[in-house]
């Protein structure tokens, strides 16, 4: 008796699509379609007909739309008649943007870049599906990669994604400003790595509020004024706003 396999069509060529292509395993057999339709993406002479996605792969068990948020509706439209489960991978796009009766979401809560290898065990998935049994399929997909899946509604996932923007995308931008400031004074960025790692490790044990240190939490106006003279306009505006946010947070807690 052959084990059940799930033919999987993966649409997209960005960071998330590349990650999934690399890691999808086990009972899932993946074929990546790099453009938004089979025609666009197929190299000439490969024998694939110019067909809309839905027709070309009408028998797949799972269609994963891993394209930019804006492009999801048009790809979903091409798949409107398929019988398999259709999911997207976006944090802030509700599941119901998909009109298929079997629809879902497979959202990887991680910063994924093609230039960096990442084991799937470090990529937790947040999943949602219109049918209970399809949640099971998405869970199996995550677990067969060696990852974990947690069900979450579209409404809650919006906040998960928003929180991720603050603690990843914006944090990384602060690393970038750090790198700029150091480079101007010939200090290697690697000097900061023990501090960067301890700052991250610290919030496993303490709340960010308890973990806060630095001139702004002490409201050391002399140091702050002096540091601001060393910054360009954009950096200074950020310095002021973040210092004020640290101070406001302290006042809120002190009052409680």
């Amino acid at each position: 008796m052959g084990a059940r396999t799930y033919r999987t069509v993966l649409i997209g060529s960005g960071n998330v699509a590349s990650f999934l292509k690399e890691h999808i395993a086990g009972p899932f057999e993946v074929m990546q379609v790099k453009g938004r339709s089979l025609t666009q993406s197929s190299p000439k002479g490969k024998g694939l007909k110019s067909l809309p996605l839905g027709e070309a792969f009408e028998e797949a068990a799972l269609y994963i739309i891993a394209v930019s948020d804006r492009a999801i509706p048009s790809v979903a439209e091409e798949l409107k008649d398929v019988k398999g489960l259709v999911v997207h991978t976006a944090g802030s796009v509700p599941m119901d943007i998909l009109k298929q009766s079997r629809r879902g979401v497979l959202y990887p809560l991680q910063t994924i870049s093609k230039a960096r290898k990442l084991p799937a065990s470090k990529v937790p998935f947040y999943i949602e599906a219109s049918r209970e049994e399809d949640l099971g399929l998405l869970r199996l997909l995550a677990e067969s990669m060696g990852s974990k899946a947690t069900p979450m509604t579209s409404e809650k996932r919006r906040y998960l994604h928003l929180a991720a923007v603050f603690c990843c995308n914006f944090v990384n931008r602060l690393y970038g400003i750090t790198a700029d400031l150091l480079a101007e004074h010939d200090i290697p960025f690697s000097s900061m790595l023990p501090l960067i790692h301890e700052t991250a490790d610290k919030v496993e044990e303490l709340t960010p509020h308890q973990a806060q240190t630095g001139p702004a939490v002490r409201w050391d106006e002399e140091v702050m004024a002096q540091q601001m003279t060393l910054l360009d306009d954009e950096q200074r505006e950020l310095y002021q706003l973040l210092s004020k946010s640290i101070h406001d947070d302290k006042l809120r807690f002190d009052k409680d």
Copy 2:
């Protein structure tokens, strides 16, 4: 033949002073003075006379002033006649605020809180001294704790401290906003830890510019506009400014 020991007076009771008290070892024998003078800090009846620091400990080899930046000059004044090396531990205060002929700086580049134990190996020290041989003493102090010391001028150390404010103090505040957003929607902060750690690990391999992901680097205005509706005024202002900073950084690189 007895090994040489260095009597060390540590002045202060904050995070850095507590850390140093805990870790100073080897040939250094430390006595902590918690107030700004011996009188202030000594419990009654301990038999210590009401003496200025300098007189009480005139024979110490090393005096470490680990008090708030503002209080350094007045503590240093009390130590004006000592013969030992006098150092402070502040990132943004120049060495020459000290008027002693043997003066220096012992700056720990780390976020240190009393509530969290931290091995000294994770705390790199940046050192400076008016005399070459005193640099050696500070290096010995760091190494006897199991740490490392790197010489750095006051001028450069200002930028080191400023960079640390961005990649530690401000990053931690973004973790705090993350925690606030999640708590409002009953999502555990621990959900974010794989992302927080990968964001930190990623910049060991890629530059922050290469590592950047998220709506702002893609300039996905629809997601950004939607996310801003979920924030309070202070959070929204930060969101706009950091998104703009990510975008500006991308444009600068694309142009180069």
